[in-house]
C-alpha cells in the first residue's frame, strides 16, 4: 500500500505515544470520577486532541473521526456547557477501551472499526443530542471496508493485445494479501477458433485481506475500460452491525488487566538522564584507558602508584557502567500498578462492593522481564481480594467496619529483593472453611495444631477453592497455585498473612533482576560453585565431633538449636580432589524452599557478582544447578540452585 508505506515507521511511534495518551485519559477519568478538579478535563481533552491529530496525519481516518466525537463531548464539558457526570465518565472510559482496540487492530493490520466502536461512537453522538451517524457508518462499513473481498474480473477480448496482462494484475493484487483465484473457463472457444491474442478467460478472486476498496481498484486503474470488474465485500466477512454491547461483565473486566499485560512490546523507553549518565561513564572509561595506555610505552616503577590508581578507577567505572546498563532494564512498577484503578473500579461496581484502592511505592524499579510477568499474578491477587477478601457494605457494617473496604498495593526494596504486597482489610481467611475443604480433599487429617501459616499454605494447593458460590471470578479454573508457580518461575516467593476479621496480606518477594546475582564463590576440589548470597545464612567450621551420623547414612550437625543435614557438594556433583574431613572444609548454612541445610565445601574463595548464563539454553537442565557464569580467569562456575539441592537431598533421603 504505497500511500501509507512511508509512514509505517512513524505509525509505530504514534501508536506507542497514543497508548500512553490513552493511559493518561483513563487515569484522569478515574480521578475525575472520584471528584477530581477541572484541570483533569483539560488533560483528557489534550490527550484526545493529540490522538485525533496524529490519527488523521498517520492514515487512520476511522480513529480520527472516532476521537473527534469524544473530543467534541469533552469540549462541551470543558466549555462548561455540560457537567461531567457518571454516565459521561463511563462512556468516555468505554471510548478509551475502543481506541485501545483500534490501536491493537491497527498494529495487526486489521480494519479499525468494529461493532463496539461503532456503537460507542453512536452513543457519543447521541449524548451530544445529535442523531447517531450510524447509518453513514454502516453504509461505509458495507462499502469500503471488509475483512475479505470477492473480485470478479472479466477482461474484454482485446485486453491482451493492448499490452495489459491479467497475470501481472493478479500478481499485483497478491501484493495486497492472500488470494484464492478461480479461473472461469466457460467462455473459451474451440481451440481451432482461438485467436491467441484474445482473452476469453475470467477470474473470480477472493482476497483474504482487510484492505480498502480503493486499494483494490488502484490495481485495475489502467484496465478499467478493458474489463468488467466487480469488487464486493465477501458476504460472511462484512462487519455486521451487532447487538448493542452487553454491559461489560465481570469476567471481561477481570480479563482486561491480563490482556494489557500481554500486549507488551519488545522495547524499553529509557530516560535521557540514564543515557547521559552512561555516556558520562563511557567518557570516564575512555579517559582511564588513555591514562593506562601511557604505561604501555614506558613503564617506570616509580609510577606504580599511578597504575594502581588507574586500575582502581577502571574497576569502579566498569562497575558503575554495569549498574547503569542494568538500570536500563529497570522500570518503575507504576506501569503495572496503573492498570489496577480501572480493574478495581469495574470489579467493585459489578460485585456491589465499595473499594478504595491505595497505591504505594509506584516508583520502585524492577527488571522489565520481571515486571512483565508480575502483572498476571497481581491481577489474580487483586481479583481474589475484591471477590473473596473484601465484604459487602452490609457485612462490613455488621462487623463494625466502615462501608468502604481498602485494598492496598505496596512495592518496596528489601535487600536485593523487591517486595510487592497486596493487602485488604476484609474478612481474612476463613480458617474453618479452608481446613474443612483440606480435610475433604484429603490434604490433612485434622486442623488441630495447625498454625495460621500452615493453614494459609493450604490455599496454594492446586485446585483449592473454598468459594461457596462460584462466580465469574472464582470459576475461572485458576487458583493460587498458579500465582505461586508464576512467581517461583521468576525466582520469587509468595506468602500470606491473614487475621480473621482484619484482612489478609499477600507478599510477593522477587529478585531485582534475573540477569545478575550476588554470590559467594566456593571451592570444591578443582571446581568453583557460586552460592547465591540471598540464600546464605551463615558459614561455620565444624569439629568432627559436631557431626552426627544417622541411620541411612545421613549426616547432621547442630546449628542454633536445630539439627541440619549436611550436603557434601563433592558427592552431589561428583568432584575429584575435594576435601573429605569435615574439619578441613567449611559448611555454608543455606535456606531454600523453606528449610535449611549445610553445604560442605572446601572453602570460600570470595564474593562476586555473577552474570547468569542459562544452562538450559546452552546445555540442558541440571538438578541442583540454576545456571552458570564465567569467572575472572575465564573458567566456568556453576550457580547452585539451593531449593533444588534441598529437594535433591530430600529425594536421596527418601530413596
Amino acid at each position: 500500500m504505497s500511500s501509507t508505506g512511508g509512514l509505517a515507521q512513524f505509525q509505530q511511534v504514534f501508536i506507542e505515544e497514543s497508548l500512553e495518551g490513552l493511559d493518561t485519559m483513563e487515569s484522569s477519568l478515574l480521578a475525575l470520577d472520584d471528584g477530581g478538579d477541572g484541570e483533569l478535563v483539560h488533560t483528557i481533552f489534550r490527550a484526545a486532541h493529540s490522538i485525533k491529530g496524529g490519527a488523521a496525519t498517520f492514515g487512520f481516518p476511522e480513529m480520527a473521526s472516532f476521537t473527534h466525537e469524544a473530543e467534541s463531548l469533552l469540549d462541551e464539558v470543558r466549555g462548561g456547557k455540560r457537567a461531567i457526570d457518571k454516565p459521561i465518565v463511563e462512556l468516555l472510559l468505554r471510548s478509551v477501551d475502543c481506541l485501545r482496540g483500534m490501536f491493537d487492530r491497527a498494529r495487526a493490520g486489521q480494519p479499525l472499526n468494529d461493532a463496539t466502536s461503532d456503537d460507542v461512537r453512536g452513543e457519543l453522538a447521541a449524548m451530544m443530542g445529535r442523531a447517531a451517524p450510524a447509518a453513514a457508518v454502516q453504509g461505509r462499513r458495507a462499502g469500503d471496508q471488509a475483512e475479505a473481498w470477492i473480485i470478479r474480473f472479466h477482461p474484454h477480448a482485446g485486453m491482451l493485445a493492448g499490452g495489459n496482462d491479467p497475470l501481472r494484475l493478479i500478481r499485483e493484487l497478491a501484493g495486497l494479501g492472500e488470494l484464492a483465484v478461480e479461473a472461469d473457463l466457460s467462455r473459451l472457444p474451440a481451440l481451432a477458433k482461438l485467436d491467441p491474442s484474445e482473452c476469453h478467460m475470467g477470474w473470480s478472486i477472493e482476497l483474504k485481506a482487510p484492505v480498502r476498496r480503493e486499494d483494490i481498484k488502484a490495481v485495475f486503474d489502467w484496465v478499467e475500460d478493458e474489463c468488467d470488474l466487480a469488487i464486493e465485500p465477501k458476504p460472511s466477512a462484512v462487519v455486521t452491525p451487532a447487538a448493542p454491547p452487553a454491559p461489560a461483565n465481570i469476567a471481561e473486566a477481570a480479563a482486561r488487566g491480563t490482556r494489557e499485560a500481554n500486549a507488551d512490546s519488545g522495547s524499553v523507553r529509557v530516560s535521557i538522564d540514564k543515557i547521559d549518565g552512561m555516556i558520562n561513564l563511557v567518557g570516564e572509561l575512555v579517559i582511564t584507558q588513555a591514562m593506562l595506555d601511557t604505561f604501555r610505552e614506558e613503564f617506570d616503577p616509580s609510577r606504580l602508584a599511578l597504575l594502581q590508581h588507574g586500575l582502581t578507577q577502571l574497576a569502579r567505572h566498569a562497575r558503575e557502567l554495569q549498574e547503569s546498563v542494568m538500570g536500563i532494564r529497570m522500570l518503575p512498577i507504576a506501569s503495572v500498578f496503573n492498570r489496577f484503578p480501572r480493574l478495581v473500579r469495574d470489579l467493585s461496581q459489578k460485585l456491589g462492593k465499595q473499594v478504595k484502592l491505595e497505591l504505594h511505592g509506584e516508583q520502585t524499579e524492577l527488571d522489565k522481564t520481571v515486571l512483565e510477568k508480575i502483572g498476571d499474578p497481581m491481577v489474580h491477587l487483586v481479583r481474589n481480594a475484591i471477590d473473596h477478601g473484601l465484604e459487602t457494605p452490609q457485612k462490613r457494617r455488621a462487623a463494625g467496619k466502615s462501608d468502604m473496604g481498602t485494598l492496598k498495593l505496596d512495592a518496596y526494596h528489601r535487600g536485593g529483593n523487591i517486595v510487592v504486597e497486596v493487602s485488604d482489610d476484609g474478612a481474612g481467611l476463613n480458617r474453618g472453611a479452608i481446613v474443612g475443604k483440606a480435610i475433604e480433599r484429603g490434604l490433612i487429617r485434622s486442623g488441630e495444631g495447625l498454625s495460621d501459616e500452615a493453614v494459609g499454605e493450604l490455599i496454594f494447593q492446586p485446585g483449592f477453592s473454598t468459594a461457596e458460590v462460584t462466580t465469574d471470578l472464582s470459576g475461572r479454573g485458576v487458583g493460587m497455585d498458579v500465582v505461586r508457580r508464576n512467581v517461583s518461575d521468576l525466582g520469587g516467593t509468595v506468602t500470606i498473612r491473614s487475621k480473621p476479621g482484619q484482612g489478609s496480606v499477600f507478599t510477593i518477594t522477587l529478585p531485582l533482576t534475573l540477569a545478575i546475582i550476588d554470590g559467594l564463590t566456593a571451592a570444591v576440589g578443582q571446581e568453583r560453585y557460586i552460592v547465591p548470597l540471598v540464600s546464605i545464612v551463615e558459614s561455620v567450621q565444624l569439629k568432627p565431633e559436631a557431626l552426627k551420623t544417622v541411620v541411612g547414612g545421613g549426616e547432621l550437625f547442630r546449628f542454633r538449636g536445630e539439627y541440619l543435614p549436611v550436603l557434601r557438594l563433592h558427592e552431589l556433583f561428583g568432584c575429584d580432589g575435594a576435601k573429605r574431613a569435615i574439619e578441613d572444609g567449611l559448611v555454608i548454612v543455606v535456606e531454600g524452599d523453606g528449610s535449611r541445610v549445610g553445604l560442605f565445601v572446601d572453602g570460600l574463595v570470595g564474593q562476586q557478582q555473577a552474570v547468569v548464563k542459562s544452562l538450559e539454553t546452552n546445555y540442558r537442565r541440571v538438578q541442583g544447578v540454576s545456571g552458570a557464569t564465567i569467572l575472572a580467569d575465564g573458567s566456568v562456575a556453576l550457580i547452585t540452585d539451593i531449593a533444588g539441592l534441598v529437594r535433591l537431598h530430600g529425594r536421596r533421603k527418601a530413596a
Partner: protein
C-alpha cells in the same frame, strides 16, 4: 500436419515450449498444438519456459481441455517454476495439471 491420422500405430507427440512463451510465439505453438490433438498422447515440456503470459496459459488450458475431451492423454515432461507460478497466479494449476509452485 494432418498426416497423423494415417499412422496406424498411435504415437505420442512431444511438444517443447520455447523459453519466451509469450504471445508472439503463439501462432506457431497453436499450430503445433492443433496437430497434437490427433495424437493419442501428448507430452508437453515446459522446463525451458522463462517468460510466459496469460495468452500462453490460456492456449495451453484450452488445448488440454480439448485433448482430454477427445480422450487423449496430456502429460508434462517438465515445467519451469516460472510456468508453475504463473499458472498458480491465474488459478489454472488444476486445469493444466501442473504441480503447485514451491513458494519462493
Amino acid at each position: 500436419m494432418g498426416s497423423k491420422r494415417e499412422h496406424s500405430a498411435p504415437a505420442a507427440v512431444e511438444i517443447g515450449l520455447p523459453a519466451d512463451c509469450r504471445m508472439a510465439a503463439q501462432a506457431a505453438l497453436l499450430a503445433e498444438l492443433l496437430g497434437a490433438l490427433d495424437a493419442p498422447a501428448t507430452q508437453l515440456d515446459g522446463s525451458a519456459v522463462e517468460r510466459v503470459d496469460t495468452a500462453a496459459l490460456q492456449l495451453l488450458t484450452l488445448f488440454r481441455r480439448e485433448a482430454l475431451s477427445r480422450g487423449c492423454a496430456v502429460s508434462w515432461r517438465g515445467a519451469s517454476t516460472t510456468l508453475c507460478e504463473a499458472a498458480e497466479t491465474l488459478g489454472l494449476i488444476k486445469a493444466l495439471d501442473l504441480p503447485a509452485a514451491v513458494p519462493a
